[in-house]
């Protein structure tokens, strides 16, 4: 089987796999972290240690979507509410019992050098394999000059990173907040401050929703709410983009622990393909428990075996240079939608999506006879629907009527409900294939334009040359 172990991440951090628990409720106590390691987690970033705080009740809220719970998750919980002593005593115990797993201490103290020097020394003495500076917490702590209040000001981030590096013997990771117009400004500052690695992204400022009976946003704390930090599956695309931005920028790039909406091995593989060395998970564990790591490890191994990768390094970062600026994309590449008549179930969502959301080139005219070209006249979807509703339908009560009503044709769907793509007009936007509920029913197929590749950059440079 492939080796999914992590070696010398950010200098010297090792873990049996790239799956770490993020600094959050699942890493609140030593007892929890030991159970997580028993379940197979490779590492854990301890729930942020600092001067103990007092939390409110309630603390979490979520966005459900289409019957699924927790598409996005939001919290207004602060850092650890347990004493530094208690956390560090348990940390020493965990390291003693689980020497092969990575234990990273997330830290947040007041912005003065002595406080940081002291916490760094005490934590490393407890046996931490690395430190993660929490410059990202977007709620509560930021009002006290910590968390994202630091992470949003590059100078502060650089300064505190430098203070920590004066004392630290283990790798120092800086956890970045996404609540900033360009995440690279703080990534660069952390690098200038001497950070050995980065973690990104922290949670995104959010209000998940408002109770339409009480008018109080969630989570409700005695009739009031406060903005929280958003995470879970909904934030993955945002996280992937920021990870790409950081790793594609020479002044920012450092060993990166990817965070944001990771819930299974596929998500993890995507972060690794963009160049992350490890990944961190929280929401999915809060939803389903530590056990999800079993499939994450197995799934990643099986995928690596299928692709012929022996170690994580074999594929880490492979997708990074596949992201480019828009101006470098080939304008002469053309794809069109093709509908597989044998798979189409006749929901006709592609038709209405194309008409109302795209370019009016998917038609329901297979029976009346297709015409391809730029001057076609088609009835609008509303007319088609009105026609159906004006028709007379009857219950097929006899066997003969039922046989006729459910007669099988050449395709699983009656021909008049299988849409047709006008390839001349199709712009290859993908929308129909995205709304189609049937796997591989609509495929986007490349068509030869007869033109050689040309980017916007090349075209406008060419125009500039021509003007000379």
């Amino acid at each position: 089987m492939p080796d999914i172990g992590v070696r010398n991440f950010a200098g010297s951090i090792n873990s049996p796999n790239p799956f770490w628990l993020a600094s959050a409720p699942p890493t609140n106590t030593g007892e929890m972290i030991m159970r997580a390691f028993d379940s197979g987690w490779g590492g854990a970033v301890w729930k942020t240690i600092g001067e103990p705080i007092t939390n409110v009740s309630s603390r979490y809220s979520a966005t459900d979507w289409n019957g699924q719970r927790i598409m996005g998750f939001n919290n207004i919980e602060l850092i650890s509410d347990r004493t530094i002593e208690q956390n560090l005593r348990e940390m020493a115990e965990v390291k003693k019992r689980y020497p092969k797993n990575a234990v990273i201490a997330s830290l947040m103290v007041a912005s003065n050098r002595e406080a940081w020097h002291e916490i760094v020394t005490r934590t490393e003495d407890a046996g931490a394999d690395g430190l993660e500076l929490n410059f990202g917490c977007p709620h509560g702590m930021s009002e006290r000059g910590m968390g994202s209040a630091v992470g949003q000001v590059p100078e502060y981030a650089e300064m505190i990173t430098a203070w920590v590096k004066e004392k630290a013997r283990t790798p120092v990771l800086v956890k970045l907040t996404p609540n900033i117009s360009d995440i690279r400004t703080v990534a660069r500052a952390a690098k200038r401050g001497g950070a050995d690695g980065l973690s990104a992204i922290n949670t995104i400022n959010s209000i998940t929703g408002i109770d339409l009976d009480t008018f109080v946003p969630r989570p409700n704390v005695d009739g009031k709410s406060s903005h929280g930090g958003y995470c879970g599956p909904a934030v993955k695309p945002i996280a992937l983009n920021m990870v790409q931005q950081i790793l594609a920028d020479a002044e920012s790039a450092l060993p990166l622990s990817g965070i944001g909406g990771i819930g299974n091995w596929r998500d993890a593989a995507e972060f690794l393909l963009l160049g992350c060395g490890t990944v961190q998970v929280c929401t999915a564990v809060m939803h389903f428990g530590y056990r999800i790591v079993e499939d994450m490890a197995e799934g990643l191994e099986n995928w690596m075996r299928e692709k012929g990768f022996k170690t994580l390094e074999d594929f880490r970062g492979l997708s990074l240079n596949r992201v480019t600026e828009w101006k470098h994309l080939n304008l002469n590449y053309k794809i069109v939608a093709r509908i597989n008549e044998q798979k189409c179930i006749g929901c006709d969502l592609c038709h209405i999506a194309c008409w109302d959301g795209a370019h009016q080139c998917i038609h329901l005219d297979r029976v009346t006879g297709p015409v391809d070209g730029h001057v076609e006249v088609h009835p609008i979807p509303g007319a088609k629907e009105a026609e159906s509703r004006a028709s007379i339908a009857e219950t097929p009560v006899t066997r003969k009527e039922r046989a006729a009503a459910f007669a099988e044709g050449p395709y699983p769907t009656p021909l008049e409900r299988i849409p047709r793509v006008d390839e001349t007009e199709c712009v290859g936007c993908n929308l129909c294939s995205l709304v189609c509920p049937v796997d591989r029913c609509i495929t986007m197929v490349q068509v030869d334009t007869g033109l050689k590749p040309e980017t916007w950059d090349e075209r406008t440079r060419g125009a500039a040359c021509g003007a000379e």
Binding site: D348, L349, H351, S388, R389, A393
Partner: protein, 442 residues
Amino acid sequence: MSTAALPDDEQLRARFGELKPPLSAQAAVIEADRCLNCFDAPCTAACPTHIDVPGFIKRIASGNLRGSAIRILDANILGASCARVCPVDVLCEGACVMHRQNRKPIQIALLQRHAMDAFWASGERVPVAAPGTHKQRVACIGGGPASLACAAELCRRGAHATVIDRRELPGGLNTYGVAEYKLRAADSVREIEMIRQLGVEFRCGVDVSSATTLEALEAEFDFIFLGLGLGAMQRLNIPGEDAAGVMNALELIAAYKTGHLRELHGTVAVVGAGNTAIDAANAARRLGAETVYMVYRRSESEMSAFDFEYEHAKQEGVQFLWNRLPVAIREEAHGRLKLDTVQVRQEKGKLERIPESEAEIVCDLVVPAIGQSPLTQLLQELRGVAVSDGKIVADRVTGQTGNPRYFAGGDCVNGGREVVDAVAGGKRAAMAMLKSAEVAHA
């Protein structure tokens, strides 16, 4: 609408518990979320009343339950009973595109019921136009689904409608003829109460069968809608048919639903294999009959009952005797009966008796269930309303008969289909009457 004529009988409720219990609120939302929201949805097209199925389902998903119910009622005022009695396997759910992906179709009937139950529970009323918006006065003869739908549509749009029915309670088969485990008589009456609140006037216990009464109606109303349904159950035309202990399927169903028949014992022989025959056979089992036979002169593959009804009857413990022709009923001692039968086979489209195959079924009740006869008695009185093959001849789209003041819909036109077909027919006729009224008053 009083339900005093209906029993509140614990035994009936226990024995005829609902076949399909309602969805919980959360289950309804989960099911509603499964719906793909097809464009020009096949379920909507398959529904004779063209209920906007994805429309009402997505309103359940969003928590807009009032909107969902109104969406249903806009298309089908009997949305609540249709949710319970429609053969959805061959209608909306049969048309669901999920089948083509080998997935379970959306449970449209249960979702529709969910929306309708919520509407009732909320005490909301169906919006209506101001009375008098349309000047037309319409008499709807017969109190079944076709007339109810016609009258409701007229009143919702601000015209006047009076429903005239010969029985104590309106609703026709919805009240008296549907298996209680599908639709309770009390629920039918509750639904009709909602229709009464739209402004529909009801005259119950009134028989309109003479030329004089019709003339009086013609004088009082602008249009007459015929929602007469079908005639009495067909007779078997065999000796002994009038013996005590012979009771046709509709009589049996009405008797137990109104509390006049609470118990059965011994053996019951139901003759026929249609949907009503199955309702009667299942009812006999639930009323206590130990053995229930369905005696059918043709084969299993020819029975007219829906497949799901056949499966249900088997689950209820009904036994089927195929290709067996009843030839006589004989009265025995202690009120028992002997049903003489003979095995038959089909020869060139005709039933041929197999020699030496006579068999008698000793039973306590014989239930003829071979369909309803066309209703012709009243029709002879109606000048200008053509009847063909026992069915009123009416325009397919408008329901207008040869007499322009007479419209018709439901079983008396289509020869006997489902509640939802009657609703569609009644609604189309109402629309046509309003339209022709506008022309007349223009």
